[in-house]
């Protein structure tokens, strides 16, 4: 069953001069329990409004939202609070209450009526994790920006809700806090009972966590799909312009001691990358970074060479996109039309694709 279903959701604001501003129009999507759904879109595309409506902080102009099959757009006041207690809405700008760090972090648990001893245990635990030890009694508003962000992270994650609405949370974080937040998100992602809806305008962040991506442009969802689908086959020009093209794979990385490089196993192929990582990773290779040749290249600097078959050629004017298949993996490659002609490439041609270990971005 879907955890969340959004049907025909629209939001229209009335401007002061009486004209209407359509912020969201006819949004439809379903989210499964345990999924990480990323909403990617430029600034002002309606991401925040969508998340605010999902948190019931704002009413949609039309449309319905179902949570576990129950319509939440028509709940009583009491049920709205019960619903909100199942989610955490983390906003871009950290907001803390005018009280001590400890009380800020404990707030969500306190209003849920949790046993004070248990609250104390949990708060102390998370304070340790986010590195705020020694600051418990300080007023949270008197902290530095970075520390305040950590309080905000702790206070929103401590009550472990079923649904996390994360609105551009990484936008203002310094690198240390970004790492902390990513740790939290990864942990939630591993828990199959927790569902995440994350909004971002950052493509790489979207790819990093997403099980599926929804592209929101000018208040409409232009495409929903698995990351590789969205980035290799954008539905329309707008989507393509905004998201750009990208080859994305999930795999397992390990460090090869002999070469000092990372080896990433992706189903039937193995990619070499220059950054050192281990474990489950996502890998990005830009279509422009992949070269193509008819024969297997010898004595070249490319660490990655695969035999492949051209499945599709898309004409984009002076450049072409080739979709090639290598074992069972699909690559998108951008080359000029001139190269296409010079190499005499056609559908079903057998080719070699080549890219450097340094052109492999690991997320």
């Amino acid at each position: 069953m879907n955890l969340l279903e959004v049907e025909g959701l629209s939001k229209v604001y009335l401007r002061k001069d009486g004209s209407a501003q359509v912020v969201l129009s006819n949004i439809n999507f379903n989210i499964k329990k345990g999924e990480c759904f990323t909403i990617i879109g430029p600034n002002g595309s309606g991401k925040t409004t969508l998340l605010r409506i999902l948190a019931l902080l704002e009413k949609p102009t039309s449309g319905k939202i179902y949570f576990k099959g129950e319509e939440i757009t028509a709940l009583s006041k009491k049920d709205i609070i019960n619903y909100r207690r199942k989610l955490s809405f983390v906003r871009q700008k950290p907001v803390v209450l005018n009280t001590s760090v400890y009380k800020n972090i404990a707030y969500g648990l306190k209003i849920r009526g949790m046993d004070p001893e248990l609250i104390d245990k949990k708060v102390k635990e998370i304070i340790e994790i986010v590195g705020l030890k020694g600051l418990e009694d300080k007023n949270a508003r008197a902290l530095s920006g970075g520390e305040m962000q950590r309080v905000a992270i702790a206070m929103n994650f401590i009550f472990e809700p079923e649904l996390y609405l994360l609105d551009e949370v990484s936008a203002n974080l310094d690198s240390k806090n970004l790492k902390l937040l990513e740790q939290f998100i990864s942990k939630i992602k591993d828990d199959e009972d927790k569902t995440i809806i994350l909004s971002t305008h950052d493509k790489l962040e979207a790819i990093k966590f997403a099980d599926r991506i929804g592209v929101l442009i000018d208040g409409s969802i232009s495409q929903i799909g698995h990351p590789n689908e969205v980035f290799t086959v954008p539905k329309d020009e707008f989507t393509a312009l905004f998201v750009g093209y990208e080859n994305i794979f999930s795999g397992k990385a390990m460090i090869d001691q002999k070469s000092g490089l990372s080896i990433i196993k992706i189903n039937d192929i193995t990619i070499t990358a220059s950054s050192l990582v281990e474990g489950d990773v996502k890998v990005c290779i830009r279509p422009e970074s992949i070269g193509i040749s008819k024969k297997s290249p010898e004595k070249v600097s490319y660490r990655n060479t695969f035999k492949a078959i051209i499945k599709e050629i898309r004409d984009l004017g002076n450049i072409c996109h080739l979709v090639v298949k290598c074992n069972n993996e699909r690559f998108l490659i951008a080359i000029t039309k001139l190269s296409l002609a010079n190499l005499n490439l056609a559908q079903n041609s057998e080719v070699y694709i080549n890219f450097k270990a340094t052109d492999v971005t690991i997320l």
């Binding site: 209450l97 969500g108 209003i111 009550f159």
Partner: protein, 232 residues
Amino acid sequence: MVNEILQGIIEALILIFTFDPEVWNVILLSLRVSGTAILIATIISLPISSYMALRNFPGKKFLTNLINTFMGFPPVVMGLIIFLLLSKSGPFGFLGLLYSPTAMIIAQLFLAIPIIIGTTKAALESVDPNIKETILSLGSTETQLWWELIKESKRSIIAGILVAFGQAISEVGAVMIVGGNIRWYTRTFTTAIVLQTRMGEFGMAIALGLLLIAITFLINYALTHLQMGEKK
């Protein structure tokens, strides 16, 4: 004249530092009347202002305008209204409250309520909407939200209450009309100063004037302190 003033000041200091019983009576009565009025006004105003700040209802704009108008209501007119209501032939004449401290409390109460409602409502409304939404999205009930908002804006709320107290204790018209300025019974700072000045008893008038200024100074000191704290 200069001589008279000097003599008055010396007399005033003697009255203050010898703890003259009549001066003390005036001080304690003024503090009791204004203090009681402000306490009751606060108890009445907090729920009303909270409702007005947190809920939307038909006529909210009109009510807000009304409250704002009453914030600057002329005290003398308020005194007149309360006088008419409490006078023997008035609707509440049977209570026999005219020319009593209770009557003065009632007059100051009605002067203070709009001030406290107005300032508290503004204080609650000025809480950053992001804070309000954060509290809501953390799962608070309406009462929990209200309590947090009161805590967030407590400085401004206390400031509003202090302003109302300052106005109440230094107000003269209404208490004069409904209290009657009866010695040892309804004589406050302000009514006493008016009377003593008219009688040429400057010592008493100056003594009470100095004490009233001292009290308003303390209130303003507390206000400034609150505002400075807000900026920290």
